[in-house]
């Protein structure tokens, strides 16, 4: 997996250059960051400019090459931002050590999203929040077909366009408290809260 993202690092900013359209919504979502923050899948750091200043943020990515590219942007952040290499499915942080976990177009690329969500659940403090800026499979059949077809070739580069990320998050023990549409029901800004462990269901 890391190899794919190392290869994609050089073209990542071009391929993910949707910031012009999505930027304001990202800023609005990231404004909800509270306390100690874990940002999962920082990539080349294109989202750093949308972080509210003055936070203590640990930003992780699985690709060393991506992290190297993110260093310059991280240095410009007006707050405490630490970059480190980590796998979202197997986080080395102690349990209940973060107040907010943030993802931005990350859960489409994690091989086992349920496992990653369980990890987020573990490292979040009780009542901790999960903020997701993610694309998911549309509930409209026509749009869903287009996303399924796109997945045939995006899967080769490690990205799945047709995941039901919200259902996976719920199954992992998160309560979705607010959904904002960015583009139809495909790109969503999601606010979720960590439920207590008893309410989780195994997938």
């Amino acid at each position: 997996m890391a190899t794919i993202w190392d290869l994609r690092a050089s073209l990542y900013d071009v391929c993910e250059a949707s910031d012009f359209r999505r930027g304001p919504q990202k800023t609005r979502l990231f404004r909800e960051m509270r306390g100690r923050v874990l940002f999962v899948g920082v990539g080349t750091g294109i989202d750093i400019k949308h972080f509210p200043p003055g936070h203590s943020i640990a930003a992780i990515d699985i690709s060393d090459k991506m992290l190297r590219k993110a260093e310059k942007r991280a240095a410009q952040y007006c707050g405490n931002l630490v970059l480190c290499r980590a796998d979202a499915q197997n986080l080395k942080f102690p349990s209940a050590s973060f107040d907010t976990v943030v993802t931005s177009c990350t859960m489409c690329s994690v091989p086992d999203p349920f496992r990653a969500f369980r990890e987020f659940h573990r490292i979040l403090r009780p009542g901790g929040r999960l903020l997701m800026f993610e694309h998911v499979r549309s509930r409209n059949p026509l749009l869903a077909i287009a996303l399924d077809l796109m997945t045939l070739w995006t899967r080769l580069s490690g990205t799945e366009m047709n995941r039901d990320t919200l259902a996976t998050a719920r199954a992992a023990g998160f309560e979705i408290i607010r959904i904002e549409t960015v583009y139809l029901d495909i790109i969503l800004a999601v606010h979720a809260l960590k439920l207590n462990p008893a309410s989780c269901t195994a997938e």
């Binding site: 391929c15 012009f20 200043p53 007006c78 026509l142 287009a146 139809l184 495909i186």
Partner: protein
């Protein structure tokens, strides 16, 4: 943006990252302008993609090959044209935002040329362009209506849940 902040930024007293943050804070000021830009931009892009893909299929039909290979090659060529156009438009209009609707248009609109051919009606260049535009317009209207309906659903759910 308040004058005191503008002065602080221009005098270099505020770090660059904070400048971005402040600009983003005041982004809603230009929200209307952005909405209009993306409304017109999406429509123009879809119309271009619809016309280009349908004209591509029409072009392949001009080769006078047997029907099945013509449709197959035409569809492959149309999808290729659509993909390249969507990639080119992605930095401005967003990757998913440009790829998904244009893919549907690029699947349906060129197929119409094949169906017309099947019924003995040979399309012309202007006709192919018109078919592409009509499908694009239809898709654009569908996207707007679906987006509106989804936003309404979210607002209703929020009201019901007291969020």
């Amino acid at each position: 943006m308040p004058q005191v902040l503008t002065q602080a930024i221009s005098s270099g007293k505020v770090p660059e990252s904070f400048n971005d943050h402040i600009r983003n804070q005041f982004a809603p000021v230009t929200h209307r302008g952005r909405s209009i830009f993306f409304f017109v931009g999406d429509l123009m892009f879809l119309a271009s993609a619809g016309m280009a893909t349908t004209l591509t299929m029409h072009l392949v039909h001009q080769l006078r090959w047997p029907f099945v290979p013509t449709c197959f090659v035409g569809m492959v060529a149309a999808m290729l044209v659509q993909t390249l156009m969507a990639f080119a438009a992605a930095p401005l209009f967003g990757s998913i935002e440009s790829m998904v609707p244009s893919m549907i248009v690029a699947m349906m609109s060129p197929m119409t040329i094949c169906v017309l051919h099947l019924f003995g009606c040979e399309s012309t260049w202007p006709m192919a362009a018109a078919i592409g535009s009509v499908f694009a317009l239809g898709m654009f209207v569908f996207i707007q209506a679906y987006g509106l309906a989804y936003r309404k659903t979210l607002m209703t759910n929020r009201t019901l849940s007291g969020g």
